[in-house]
Symmetry: C2
DNA sequence: ATAGTTCGTTGCAAAAAACGCAACGTGATG
DNA sequence: CATCACGTTGCGTTTTTTGCAACGAACTAT
């Protein structure tokens, strides 16, 4: 009966789909199933009737949905009312940010934080996403915004922000690549590909390409920095793999197009990470409070 | 941030005393301390300022108190609104009840339960409190109302109802006992004592008497059934030990008086107990829902 | 003074709760 | 008929919670 369980129920009562809600909250379906069972136990009745094919809210469930959302709303406004009375924090907060995330995800976070703690000096370092964890573990920075690695080190705390979909893009202009793509049988090994130098996006590509079993890819270029990659694709150099969000924000997005039906590329998770031991520090604690 | 934690905070914010609130909720002070720490962590600020001598609500604490009590109230009224729409349960519910508890604690419980489930047939068996657990473990009854034993068997679930204070009572009429009690130096070993045959009350007496270190007690009579005991005391046979609640409800309560300043007798815990494995049964579940 | 109390907190080990994985049963789909 | 999608459950592991004992601080009584 904590906020988390109520939020999950609220989401589920809209989606009526355990797997989707579980994904949205980054838990396994079984965990969600049990969380709902716990709620039903506490309420003392069935909240959702599930008959192996469909999920529907029961009468009790409908009432509880209202209750749950009222609850969440009240908790939120309670926190809000406290935020106004907070003592002013001062000091420096050193943030490391992957270029990818810097312009898409950092601004709203910083905005919320600065609104509450205007006296805190923010030092922003941008760099390669792959180095983010290292920077955090070095204690060179207080925290970083980066993709979640496959294996999160024990000492690092990761707070999820967003799920980043990957996109395969091609130029829209007439060029050799365009021609190859329009052939009936796509021969991937002959299509020039432009890749990020390393990092999460690169790993996602390798995984995706291996599934195609079409021999070695023809790598036209590797680029450090996703934005430049979009430009190269726009110029007609080849097909590129980048996070969708980079495409959406690119000034040349009209000159590239997404390729569909070419197999799913696994998205990656973007989040804020810091050392577990640093979570208690006032500034870092305040930051997490502000953004969550 | 569950109902329990909020209730504890609410109580604590009134008592401003960790030990008292912990006792009231049947947990250790350390558990309470940590529960409050968890709340403070979730809220993101100190709720109660404690300086090793005093406990006071902070500003945030005052706000949270309002929030918490609103929460509890809403939860309660939500449950209330559901209770009206409950499906009718039918069947038999077999209750074993110690005589002591039968007239003091059972009626309000049954009343609440019957109001919601009028079709359930209730079978009440009264008997010695000491046999209650056995009856439950035998599955002779669905549940029992009885004193908590020192060692609760693993298989048995115990739901606390009340803390029962013990009383030492003497006749008010002029008699030999009365005379003995008015002497300057009380010689306990010469005062006739009337005791319950066995059970929690008897054990409490033995503990209490041992502390006095006055040799063997002079046991005038042992009685099975507390009510009869009060009568014997009223008749002037001796001094008796019974739960205070028995005295209060006795028809002869004017003919006995409490002895004070004779050392504390440890109270015992009265509650509802059933087999852990039976808790899931609809009728038993409904009963616990109705009474809690 | 000083020994004894009363308080709330913390280290620690044990118990309980929550979690994810894998397997399952059940309808729908092709 | 095989396959798929979906929610649930058994099971071993990890995380969280709990009570006991010990502690330090601050009053009280002798």
């Amino acid at each position: 009966m904590d906020q988390k369980a109520l939020a999950m129920f609220s989401h589920l009562s809209q989606s009526l789909h355990f797997a989707k809600t579980a994904r949205a909250h980054h838990i396994s379906p079984s965990t969600l199933s049990r969380a709902i069972q716990r709620l039903e136990d506490e309420v003392g009745g069935e909240l959702l009737h599930r008959d192996n094919r469909t999920v529907v809210l029961t009468d009790i469930g409908k009432k509880f949905k209202i209750y749950a959302e009222q609850q969440l709303e009240q908790w939120h406004s309670f926190k809000q009312s406290l935020a106004e009375k907070q003592i002013e924090l001062t000091g420096k907060l050193h943030i490391y940010c992957s270029v990818t995330a810097a312009y898409s995800h950092l601004p709203p976070l910083l905005e919320r934080f600065r609104a509450r703690h205007p006296l805190v000096e923010i030092m922003l370092t941008t760099g390669d996403a792959a180095d983010a964890l290292e920077q955090v573990q070095n204690q060179s920075v207080d925290f970083a915004i980066a993709a979640a690695p496959e294996q999160l080190p024990r000492s690092v705390y990761f707070h999820h922000l967003d799920t980043i979909a990957m996109a395969v893009i091609a130029p829209t202009m007439a060029c050799k690549v365009q021609q190859q793509l329009s052939e009936n049988v796509l021969t991937w090994s002959k299509i020039p590909i432009i890749l990020p130098e390393h990092g999460a996006a690169r790993k996602r590509f390798e995984l995706w390409y291996r599934k195609k079993q079409q021999g070695k890819p023809m790598i036209y270029a590797t680029v450090s920095g996703h934005e430049a990659l979009v430009s190269m694709v726009a110029l007609g150099c080849g097909v590129g793999i980048v996070p969708q969000v980079v495409v959406d924000n690119s000034p040349v997005k009209d000159k590239v197009r997404n390729l569909a039906n070419i197999g799913e590329i696994e998205p990656f998770e973007l989040g804020v990470c810091c050392l577990n031991q640093s979570k208690a520090q006032p500034l870092i604690k305040a930051f997490f409070q502000a953004i969550s």
